[in-house]
Every structure is written in structure tokens, then in C-alpha cells.
Amino acid sequence: MAKDPKVLDEVTILFAGDSGDGIQLTGNQFSDNTALYGNDLSTFPDFPAEIRAPLGTVEGVSGFQIHFGTREIFSPGDKCDVLVAMNAAAFKKNFRRLKPRGTIIVNTSGFDKRNLKLAHYPEDAEPLEGLEGYQLTKMDVTKLTREALKDIKLGTKEKDRCKNMFVLGYVYWMYNRTLESTIDFLTSKFKNKTDILEANVASLKAGFHFGDTLETFRSRYEVRPAAMPPGEYRNVMGNQATVLGLVAAAEKSNLPLFYGSYPITPASDILHQLSSYRDFGVKTFQAEDEIAAIGAAIGASFGGHLAVTASSGPGIALKGEAIGLALMLELPLVIVNVQRGGPSTGLPTKTEQADLFQAMYGRNGEAPVPVVAAHSPTDCFDAVFQATKLAIEHMTPVFFLSDGYIANGAEPWRFPKSDELEKISPRFADLPAKENETFLPYERDENGVRPWSIPGMKGLEHRVGGLEKEDGSGNVSYDPDNHEKMVKLRQEKVDKIADFIPEQSLDQGPETGDVLIVGWGSTYGTIKIAVNEMLEEGYSVAHAQIRYLNPFPKNLGEILKSYKKVLVPEINNGQLVKILRAEYLVDAQPLNKIKGVPFEAAEIKNAVLEILKS
């Protein structure tokens, strides 16, 4: 008879194996199941840059980390409680991420001589020995899976592809779950391949029952549902939320969406998903290069559509000149940058926040562009929606910054109802009252915003271009005073946006005190955990996460000056910190990590302790 499972508050599991082992699918399945079970959660996939890196090597290891709990979860977790390793390489790469006395589940068939060699273990190494103090569960997954599927008519290769389901079944057993969500998923995925469906389900069940057979000496756990704010939830990944935010903004502005893009990691998923929304009138265009992608978007914006282009750092670099054009044309355009490790090709599958300067300053001439950054997977929805609203209502290109960490991470989302979303109001030009009235395409309203007049509007024919414009008429002008005036007007228009964005709020902590931690983007969850803990420990620490990076919220300076010290953690070599210092003359201190991976809460806590001493 089953013992009562041990109740835990939160758990972090890291699934790791060859990139061909189906680790991402396993992780996603476990996430869905966890979400449906009612836990709060946060996930982080970590895949190799090569599509099919050599089998069995450390370079080829794919990982998926999930942190779930009864309490609110803010990040995918630093160290893990459970490491599931499908082979020696996966074990070697990730063992250091396991907590002391953690649980290890290994597939012993991935630890044979060949695998040990591929993982570059020394000749006589026995990595699974000497792990006293850890809870080690060994299973020969290959053998067990083949055994479970012996009555199914499939080749060995196909059977071995079901190994991940065996392991998943076992982990479901461990956490006292049911198999339904995954069986449903498999049923719809393999609806036309009954034998493969049967094999996967059999393997999943075998893994689950294998738990029962081990039961006498293995514990089961339960992480009870979290007390989440009431409402209906779904799981969402950052890139998905970005897509939904864009489609929502298109609906709320009543503008059809055009998306011009060129494939690049980690932004391509946005293109994939948007291209399946033709039924929402979404037109996606896979261009010949990054420049053509933004060029087409500018053309669509000129034509009166909601135009979006997305890329990652290197692609954004290519778009630079065209962003300048959009700014001169004063047309709405959303530029999504899913940041990755740079410079140059850098670390395509790793995360970094090093394109803030690029977004702020990466163009020729005086070229201010508003910048909005998302701080979590679900926040991508709200942030990109707001970025789009600013672009449309203020007739300007706007940068929306996400990064690899939140783009691929997932968490539960209490999705909004469409009628709760704000309306977005395009500033279309009025048709001229009189036949021969001259239309002034660059006549601004009180917010410095020019009217959007699009082909087809009779009487509003006009010419725009990248050459400096005469104020009002938009005609080409080389007049020195006019140029200075126009540079200032374009700057003022962006500065004015500060009147339309919310004031900066504190995430938590006292309104004045010893240390303010200022973050932006994906560092949010980790900073929150660190600050949470330090507040409990009695420190005077507060946290502000900045979404609107250009222009800054009007009260930001005041907040910065309400603390003795300001610490700015960033996954870069110090960018926001320099802007804050320049803008507000505060002695903000940097905390930088440039390893392609997120901060751990402990690193932030240590930095705060350090700064408190100084």
C-alpha cells in the first residue's frame, strides 16, 4: 500500500539528456501537468547551439529546468533538487547544479563505456560511485522501455524513442500525479500513428508502474497546489506571450497585423506562431534578410497596418539604418529584440541583456526610440501590448526587449479577457475639409505626434523620406535652424511619452532605506527572491524593475535618491547602470554577470551585503 507522500513546499527538477532524447518535450509535458495540478511554476530550457550536436557529448546536452511550488514561484530556480540524467554527458554537465543531498535519477544505459568516453570521463571513471549522501535512483531505461514494449510491433529505434516517456512516467509517480494530460497530448500528436501512440503511452505507464515496484525504498512527494490569485490560467512561454500580445494589440487597435522577419535564434518562434494566425488576418513575410524584413514592415506601416519586425542582436544591427528611416518617417513600428549572448554571433542559445545600448543608441544621428522591456514570460504580453500602443499612438518606432531566458521560459498566466484590454487609437489624418487645402503631413498635435495618412486617402497625397524634413510640410529642408528644431521636436515627442506611461513603482521593500535594487528585463524573478529573503532577514532593501527604459518614468529620479545605495544587477557588462548614472547623477553600482545564464539569488544577496559594508 502506498505510503503517504512527503509534502514539500517547492521543488526544482532538471531534466537533461541528449538533444535527441526528447528532453524539451518531456519538460514541457511535466510543466503542463504541473500547471494543471495547480502549482505555480517557472521553467527554463537550455539547449545546445547545434541542432544535432554529436550524440553523447557534453556539447550536445539539452536541459529543461522547472521550479514549481505551493507558494509563488518567481524564477526557474538556481540549484535543483532533482537531476534527471539520461546519459553520462548530461550528468557531467549538470551535477554541479544539484543541491547537496539532492535526488539523482539516471538512465544507466547512458553510462556505458562509449557514453563515458563521449562525455570525456577518464578511462576508469565511475561517476555514479561515491554519491553517498545523494538519493540515487538507477534505472536501465533502454532495457526497461524495450521490455515494456516487447509486444508492440515497432522497430527498436522507434521503441527507444519512447525512453523519455518512461522517465516522465516515473517522475509523475514520484510527484503523485496522474498521466492524463500527457496521454491527451500524445493522443492528439499521434492521432494518425496508432502504433507510435500506443508505444508512447505504454512506456509512460511502464515508467509510472516502475515507481510502484520501487516503492518500498523510494519516497513519493507531493507539492500541493499553490494559492494563486483566483481566475482561469494557462501556461505560456515568453515568445508565445509576445505573439499573443501583438495579436491582441492588432485587435484592440483595429489594425491588421503585418510581421516581417528573417529566421534567427531565439526569435524565430515568433515567426512560426504568427504565421499560423492567418485566420486573424495576420500577414507574415519571411524576407530575404533582416533589412528586407524591416523594410517590408515599414512599407506595411506606410500602408496603414500594424507593422512588426523581430530579431535578435545581430539582426537588429542590420536593421539599424531602417530604424532610423522609420523614425524620420514617424511611422509606427514595433521592433522586437529577443536578446542573446553577443557580440557578433556570440552565444545564440544563451541569454544576455547586452543590447540595451543598441536599442538606445544604435543608430546614426540623433535617433531616439522608446524602449520597453518585459520582465518575465507572462509579462511579454503586457509589455509588448504597451510597446505597440506607444508605437501606434505616438507614431514612432518602439523597441520591445525580451531575451532568450524569458522567451523560452514558461509560467502560468492568468490571461486577460479581451474586453479588459485597453483600446489603442491610431491617429489617422482627417480628410481635408476643402478641396484644395494643403495637407501638412508633419503638423504635430499637442504631444508632438504627426497624423498617419495612408495611400488611398484622397487629398492627402504627400511624400516622405529619410532626408531632413521641414517642420509641418515635411518637404526636404537643408535649413540649419530647421534641422536643429526637428531634432529637438523628435526628441520631445519621445520624451512626452513619459506623460503616458505609469510612474515607476516599487516591487517590494520600504520607500526609503539602505539599498535599492534596480533591475530591468529577465532579472526580475531572481531579484525578487533575493529581496524577499533579505526583507525577511530584516534588511532595509527595496526593489524596482524598470519596464519603460526610454523615456524613464517621471518619478524614477526621485526613487533613486531615496536610498543610500543603488545596486543595478544586469546580465551584461553594465549598461542600465551607466544610463542611470548619466541621467540622474546617482552613484548606482553595477552587478554584472556575463555567462549566458541568469543570476542566482545568492549572488544578488551577496552583492547587497557587500554594498552595505562599503
Binding site: 494563486m228 483566483p230 490560467y233 501556461n235 513575410f285 517590408a296 506595411a300 488611398g456 511624400r463
Partner: protein, 341 residues
């Protein structure tokens, strides 16, 4: 957008903007501007539905002089902007104004991709075989050995044959005309406008400041007849005031004397014949060579192929028909949700 076909009532003057034209006096661009303005009232499109988009270069100032919607964009990218505009607004009449540097050097990649996608736009490629706006460097169509400011020892680059390049990119309308022959220019422009798909019009344009007379052989009265051939669908390839013609010997074009020969024996131009059009684009020898084949002007090739924007509209329509109950709330909910109490 607008329903009434007011274009009929307009005159060429209505298509001229209030901006002073700023090309050098004597520049071939003037003639092209004039002919474009002349045909505008005849194309049957309301003025507000016409858009001129250019890149950078002398010719790219063109949109400022047209009283239509227009955009003077960035170097080489007019093609990309036109693609996006056409993708979302298929009903517009979109004209791309570009030069040899703009479309064949910095924008070369975009040009070939536009051609293969076959958006229904017209490209007017002003070829003057020089960089004019930057004051006289050789261009990708300059003849090899050309001495310019950037090539005092003569250029080393083998030049592009623009029309052969466009044929290679599966263009559906390929043509050539010149600034100095307004009638022929107008006729080609009209045909380009009528073609559904990307219409490529190469226009030999004299830059009288930096490359004066580079096409003189084709435009001067004294040499024009012997060095050019005007091709028309269904008509024999005949030139030099009817004195000479072209026959095809296998795949080899040959000049023949017309004395004692019927025009029926000549190569009869067929705009739908891809292979022959490709041969025609190879009539590209150095015109100063006495034995050179005459340079063809007119429509080389035309093909009906679905346009990108049409197919895109079709996909959207089909998707919308399939899921009649699409709504944002469903999309936001996704496939699997749960409730927290």
C-alpha cells in the same frame, strides 16, 4: 480605396508636385519624369492610390516630384518597402524608382527576391552606368576598364547585364527603353503598368555630368539605326531602317541583309518565349564593335504567374473561412486552462 475613377479627369500637370525639380540641367531624368507624368492620367488609377517609392541616388529624388503618395527611402531598400506595402495593400499601384547602384549594387539582393516573388509592382531602373549623387564613381553596370574618380587605373569589375540577371531571377516582365525616345518610353511604361506581376523596366538614362554620352551610340541619330533594334511582340527582328534583320541559327543570332529576303524569314519576336528572351538579353556586346548585334529595346519577356500578394490574400481568406468563429478570447485561452479558486 476610393471608388470613383477620378484619374480620368486629371492631366499630367496634376501629377506634378509643388517641389522644384533639382536634377542637373540636361539630365535624362527630366524626360523620364515627364513621360511618367504623361501616362499617369491614362493608367486608370485614382491619384491617391498611386505610390512611388525610391531608394537613394539621383533618380531616387523622383517621388518628391510626383503629386501622389511617395517615399524616398534608404539606399537599395525601396524594393523591400514596396513589397511590404503591396503585401498589405494589393489594390495600390506601386512604382519603384531606382538606379543602377541602388538596385544592382547595394540593393541587388532585394531586387532578385522581389522578382521571384512577383509582387505586382513596376520597377523603373534608371541605368546611367555611374554613381551620380556621390559624384562619379563607377557602378555595377559601368564597362570594365572605366576610369572614374575611384578607378584612376580603370575599373576591374565585370559589369552586370541587368536584363540577363532579371531573367535569371525569373522576372515575369523584362523590358528596356531609353530617356531619349519618349514615344517608345511611354509605350513600354504603359505595357509595364498593364502587366500583372513585377515589371522591370531598364531605362538607359544619360548622366550628362559624370557619364555624358555613354549611350550615345543608341540615342544619337547618326548611329541609332544601326546599333539598336526595337522589338515588338509578333514582329520580325528588323533594324537599320529595314536594311538588316536577325535570324536564329540554332541558338545563334545572326545579322542578315534584307536584300532579297522576306521579313517572314526573320526571327519573329515572341514575348512569351523564355529561351529566346534570354538570347535577346545577350545582345549586349560593346556597341563600338562594328560586328556587334544591335541593342534591343522594348519588351523582351512577359509571363503570367500568380502575384505574391494575391496568394497571401488567398491564404488569409481561406484561413478565415475555415475558422469562422475565431476570436481573441479563444486565442488567449489556448488549448488547456485551469481554474484557481
Amino acid at each position: 480605396m476610393s471608388e470613383s475613377n477620378t484619374a480620368n479627369k486629371l492631366s499630367p500637370k496634376d501629377f506634378s508636385s509643388d517641389q522644384d525639380v533639382r536634377w542637373c540641367p540636361g539630365c535624362g531624368d527630366y524626360s523620364i519624369l515627364k513621360q511618367v507624368q504623361t501616362i499617369m492620367p491614362e493608367i486608370g488609377v485614382p491619384r491617391e492610390d498611386i505610390v512611388f517609392i525610391s531608394g537613394i541616388g539621383c533618380s531616387s529624388r523622383f517621388p518628391y516630384y510626383m503629386n501622389t503618395f511617395g517615399m524616398h527611402s534608404i539606399h537599395g531598400r525601396a524594393t523591400t518597402i514596396a513589397s511590404g506595402l503591396k503585401a498589405v495593400r494589393p489594390e495600390l499601384s506601386v512604382w519603384i524608382i531606382t538606379g543602377d547602384g541602388d538596385s544592382l549594387s547595394i540593393g541587388g539582393n532585394h531586387l532578385i527576391h522581389l522578382l521571384r516573388r512577383n509582387f505586382n509592382v513596376n520597377i523603373l531602373l534608371f541605368n546611367n552606368q555611374i554613381y551620380g549623387l556621390t559624384k562619379g564613381q563607377y557602378s555595377p553596370t559601368s564597362e570594365q576598364g572605366k576610369r572614374t574618380k575611384s578607378t584612376p587605373h580603370g575599373s576591374l569589375d565585370h559589369p552586370f547585364n541587368p536584363l540577363a540577371l532579371c531573367m535569371g531571377a525569373d522576372a515575369t516582365f523584362v523590358s528596356r527603353t531609353m530617356d531619349r525616345d519618349p514615344k517608345q518610353l511611354r509605350s513600354v511604361l504603359m505595357q509595364a503598368n498593364q502587366h500583372k506581376g513585377t515589371s522591370l523596366v531598364e531605362i538607359y538614362q544619360n548622366c550628362n555630368v559624370f557619364n555624358d554620352g555613354t549611350f550615345a551610340r543608341f540615342t544619337d541619330k547618326r548611329t541609332k539605326e544601326e546599333s539598336t533594334i526595337f522589338i515588338e511582340d509578333g514582329k520580325p527582328l528588323i533594324f537599320d531602317q529595314g536594311k538588316r534583320g536577325i535570324v536564329l541559327d540554332g541558338f545563334n543570332p545572326k545579322i542578315v541583309d534584307m536584300e532579297g529576303r522576306s521579313a517572314d524569314d526573320l526571327w519573329i519576336h515572341d514575348v512569351n518565349d523564355r529561351v529566346k528572351a534570354e538570347i535577346l538579353t545577350r545582345f549586349f556586346e560593346d556597341p563600338s564593335d562594328e560586328t556587334a548585334l544591335p541593342r534591343p529595346f522594348g519588351v523582351f519577356y512577359q509571363e503570367d504567374r500568380p502575384c505574391y500578394e494575391e496568394m497571401l490574400e488567398q491564404q488569409v481568406k481561406e484561413a478565415e473561412d475555415r475558422s469562422s468563429n475565431r476570436n481573441l478570447d479563444q486565442l488567449l485561452r489556448g488549448n488547456r486552462t485551469w481554474w484557481a479558486e
